[in-house]
């Protein structure tokens, strides 16, 4: 039995509410998804909210929203809110998911196959 599939009922809504200032992240839509790569455009500065500063520090090299969520131990929806703040201030840049638009580009699939064959 894998611990990772466990359902938690003890997510602390109070803490998350404070971090996001009560705003709710829409992790279902919007332009930021699980594998959007976030890259810092600046370094943390004094007076930044700690979570913002941590993200800016963490994303000196590109990092997906899912990875940020894992390292920060925060839900994806909360990370989405925080990253949106940083994007608005141009402190980070977002590199989008290459989506499957109806059917994926054969060349994209070929690139992935090629990469997998090297494993």
């Amino acid at each position: 039995m894998s611990g990772s599939d466990k359902v938690w009922d003890d997510a602390d809504p109070e803490r998350l509410y404070v971090i996001t200032g009560g705003r709710s992240g829409d992790s279902q839509g919007g332009s930021i998804g699980l594998v959007t790569l976030i890259v810092s455009q600046s370094v943390p500065t004094a007076g930044m909210q700690p979570e913002h500063a941590t993200i800016v520090r963490m994303c000196q090299a590109p990092l997906s929203v899912a990875e940020i969520s894992a390292y920060l131990h925060l839900p994806v929806s909360v990370v989405t809110v925080l990253v949106t703040d940083l994007l608005a201030e141009s402190r980070v840049e977002a590199r989008a998911l290459v989506a499957r638009a109806q059917l994926p580009e054969p060349s994209l699939i070929e690139a992935v196959m090629h990469g997998l064959q090297k494993l």
Binding site: S4, K6, V35, L37, A66, V76, L116
Partner: protein, 226 residues
């Protein structure tokens, strides 16, 4: 909150992203280990979802091909309003959190592939919107001792139009059905690939992903069979 990674992973001394810094006031830096950082040239990401019941080997598969130790992210399902707290004026929400394991494979200097494992049971489907949005496709991981979970998952993927392959994870003592028997049992159309795998082996897990990619490639160059 306690976020436990899968118990199938080898224990580390510190959490995956926790690096203790020396010095008088020991500070904990959160983030990837230096060797886990992506190159600055990484500009695009794609994802594949591994879906199946509890204990079917999702975490094992992700871990055997991932270049980083699998990480755990969580998604919350919030149900608004069960009781409105009039005194504070804040709507009380109940939230349920589900963890998802994921791993990463750098395809080349620009492109990164992420693999997400997600439980297949219906009560977790609230996760699927964010998860499948833009996903290349899915692997349905099946344990032949428990085919039931797979029915719902396959039906749901078909409904959503997510292309998928079926991978039969070979457990000791699990019935070894001929592929065509499984195809019938799972009510799968002829064109959906069914492959055998041992999720503990990197090469076997890689081959599952490759069969998904070959299938996607065939869909991309020829219209979907009907």
């Amino acid at each position: 909150m306690d976020f436990k990674s899968s118990d199938s992973l080898s224990p580390g001394t510190a959490g995956p992203g926790t690096v203790a810094m020396g010095g008088p006031a020991t500070r904990t830096v959160v983030g990837p280990r230096t060797e886990d950082a992506l190159p600055a040239s990484a500009t695009a990401a794609v994802k594949i979802v591994i879906v199946g019941g509890f204990g079917v080997g999702k975490t094992t598969l992700v871990g055997s091909v991932s270049e980083i130790r699998p990480l755990t992210t969580e998604e919350t399902m919030t149900q608004a309003g069960v009781g409105v707290d009039d005194v504070v004026g804040v709507e009380r929400k109940t939230s349920t959190t589900v963890a998802m394991d994921f791993g990463r494979i750098s395809i080349n200097d620009e492109l990164v592939l992420y693999l997400f494992g997600t439980p297949g049971q219906q009560r977790f489907w609230f996760l699927w919107n964010g998860l499948f949005q833009g996903a290349l496709g899915a692997v349905v991981l099946v344990d032949t001792r428990r085919l039931e979970v797979s029915f719902d998952v396959i039906g749901r993927l078909e409904e959503r139009g997510v292309p998928f392959v079926v991978a039969i994870n070979s457990f000791m003592g699990a019935p070894d059905y001929p592929t065509e028997e499984l195809r019938t049992a799972l009510d799968l159309p002829d064109y959906v690939p069914i492959v055998a795998c041992d999720a503990r082996k990197r090469s076997s897990s890689r081959d599952v992903l490759l069969s998904l990619m070959r299938y996607l490639h065939s869909l991309a160059v020829t219209p979907e069979p009907s």
